[in-house]
Assembly symmetry: D2
Homo-oligomer: 288 residues x 4
């Protein structure tokens, strides 16, 4: 499908290693830098890697602190600035869901792509996130998912995938949303629906999966939607949608489950990075 590119992967965790392996299995050429602690063959210098690559791939998250590439397998510090300085006429792919600030002057003649802000990245990662949420729910309880009452708060990518798996496992799934069009969708897909603002007025759930990234489950809502054996799993990025201190005070077991794809399924997460980069390249080819 994809023509033969030369990829250079700099920094990152095991996801980038799996991304590289998957690219190699597609007969792509891949060089790596920043993986010496993982016994991966690397180029001697960043310069060498960039010179021999057409596409530079930076990790997700791209930087661990200002200007420093997130690079747990590297024995040396790698600076973002340096990469940018060397990358004239290259494509740089990086992954920062929250975006990144780079001085525009430095970016002349560089094409930058934030793969972590694309919708396909978000959709594809909803699968490992949902499977990890299932694993957490299975591990943390002494009951099956079959037969339990679950609330999925929010009907975005994760809510859609998670609700589908839960229902097929025989749980009684209610999904919340704010808009009547989403309520229509939820009903069409045979879930129970509840307007998000109505959550406290309905019923108590055995498990609450929150995917909404702002405070929904304050003390009052927790009291009304849970019982003493309920489990609350917050899948929304920080600060999440649950008042954790109230939950603790009420004795409701609550887990803030973040960055699940990389932690639970790094191989899948690495393949997603690859696929989204391929999508970007394909779209460019089609546009040209």
């Amino acid at each position: 499908m994809i023509e033969n590119y030369k990829f250079g992967i700099i920094g990152g965790d095991s996801r980038q290693i799996f991304c590289a392996k998957s690219m190699i299995s597609n007969n792509q050429k891949v060089n790596m830098f920043g993986f010496d602690k993982a016994d991966i063959k690397c180029t001697n210098t960043i310069n060498e890697l960039i010179e021999t690559s057409k596409c530079i791939i930076l990790p997700v998250p791209t930087i661990s602190e200002d200007n420093i590439i997130y690079s747990p397998f590297s024995s040396k510090v790698i600076y973002l600035d340096e990469i940018i300085k060397l990358s004239k006429d290259k494509k740089i792919f990086y992954g920062m869901p929250s975006g990144i600030n780079i001085n525009d002057d430095k970016l002349k003649n560089i094409k930058l792509y934030n793969y972590a802000q694309r919708e396909d990245f978000s959709i594809l990662n909803a699968i490992p996130t949902s499977e990890a949420a299932i694993q957490i729910a299975l591990t943390e309880r002494n009951e099956t998912l079959y037969g339990c009452k679950c609330l999925v708060a929010g009907f975005g990518h994760i809510g859609k995938i998670l609700a589908r798996i839960l229902k097929s496992m025989g749980t009684d799934v209610t999904v919340s949303a704010r808009k009547s069009k989403d309520i229509a969708w939820i009903n069409s897909l045979n879930y129970r629906s509840v307007y998000t603002y109505d959550i406290p007025d309905k019923q108590k759930y055995d498990i609450v999966f929150n995917t909404i990234p702002y405070l929904i489950f304050n003390k009052d809502v927790i009291v009304k939607s849970t019982h003493e054996n309920s489990l609350v799993i917050d899948l929304a990025s920080k600060p999440g949608g649950v008042d954790f201190s109230s939950a603790k005070e009420l004795g409701i077991k609550t887990i803030h489950a973040l960055a699940l794809p990389g932690k639970y399924f790094p191989k899948t997460a690495g393949e997603i990075i690859k696929n989204v980069i391929y999508n970007i390249l394909k779209e460019e080819e089609n546009d040209e």
Copy 2:
């Protein structure tokens, strides 16, 4: 849920009758005009209906020709102008997917809502449309859906619902879309995916369901995606997405299936009109 309104239904087909029955079963007050040929009790005049109603409900489609309300069960012609003239301080609900032009001057002090252009209307109608498409596919072929290769072209509301039913019936479903994010969704939901522009380069299908409202299936695409026993069902509104004359010439059985909810499941279609009007009223209540 909904407070007690007084609804006045003017014109339309059996969907409006089912809408009325469903409202009455919810303890709403409903007056009707324009159903004398259907043996339904009507007010004597339009004026009487409007005076005693808070919400006027016009049918879908609202007009059958310029200024004339679509009203197959009425022995008299009903004029849109007249309704508007009488409806000061009322809410008027009407259903024209393509919109309607009404002179603004006449609309002072009237609240107008086009329920047929709302997304919840479109989502909810995707269910009867999909079931009707299934019925057509079952009726027109001498084989089960189980085991057949289907293409669903387009991943909008109908595409999403239809693909789900087809897959659960054991067909081999491929769904087409243009954008990589939709392709990601299609894969996430365990269908085969194909970029719409790639349809002719892939395989031949036993059934093609088109939901895309512009020409996709020209002669070349039909030749490449169908075989002599294929069935093509075009669900897209006129002019549809299929070159019907080429299909005919090629001997491929093709059906342009339009306005299915009202034709196949008028009771459901009437209840959807009711539910969307309820949604509009609830949203207004919440906003106030």
Copy 3:
């Protein structure tokens, strides 16, 4: 898979024609007799067909009256006796769900297989039967299946397949069975369950699909499990499980839907006959 056999098909309806076509598409040699009215090339005599065939295939049902092969496309009467007399050292495949009596003396040196009494035949036909039942339910009502309350009485082959399709279309499915182990299964598969003897004590259904081949729905049970708009579809072979005269008296729309695969999906039904004959031959090969 299957070695090269020589099949001779005598009599039957379009299912046998589709069976033949499907065998030919697998590179099998097939001769036919009894299809002159369907413009199908036949051997001149039965004798010629049998001499050149290793496996003789008789239709389902095999006989329409005593000793006379069911043969709507034949301009001549074909006698079972004659076929048997000529078939020394042949395998004869026939399809009589209720069995058939043949004088043993005549069967020396003939291997007889009743494909219609095998469980794989019954399982495979549950799919076209279920799809036909869905088609009937869609055609006979003015509402979608989505959202309606259905009872599937009986959890045999048809009950299992039909319940699965209904549920995936968004109906509220209750399945009845007599044994606690079947109730356990029904619950495991996320349907509502009811003991068959409890049907009248539970609720009213929009659609009742009966698959139990003895009287369950007597007047009392009909009264208690249906409402005036209910539809009852009896899929059980004669005399069926519904007291039709009581249903009529009560004004409940009732359909005795028999022999659906052949009527609705003859191509699929023909392919099933082929597949079951292949299964029989494979099992014999494995046993040898």
Copy 4:
């Protein structure tokens, strides 16, 4: 449903405690013996418990060694003999999947029920077993289940439930069986099928779930059906269906996962014991 019984639970692990709690929540009277180490209120003596109970419930497994009740929460040894001697005119429910030998003379006037040998027990436990298998597969791999190739060997209770969950999670599921009627079922349910003896001739799987309780996966079959990153989970009771030493030698990760309901979901497992005992009592009531 169930009339008021007096239950006496003797010995067992946390499943019996959850069984008791669930019975109490149904307003049943329950006495317990053998749970002093778990801080559960017990009768002072076995005698006291039996005298005040109509139904005696022994655990699963019933005995840990000859004549000694499996009783991890008891500080004293409990003898099966003693229970039987005291239980004249009582019903005794016990759970030994492999059966138990009790001298008939001692059983006069006692009604004995082995709930662990009933089919409803086996069906209901297939759910927690399958969810535990899913949890193991999620935990042991660095990839999602979505998109992986799974083999479910055997189409009994566990095979049926497990295949359904796997498929709904987006895995590519193949199910094996020996009989053509099961192959027909497997195909009807939209899985890929393979005759068990054909497993080595088909493909390699990312995960193999074995449910067949005799040796299927010998060295040759393992070599042909797995690759270096495959995971083999044997769910069949000892000795299982996998040649573990060959698997080890070949470097294929293999897990013999036994007695999963009690280990992973003791609350559910306890409720299943309760439900099966209720089923037995209901069947007796109906028979009387």
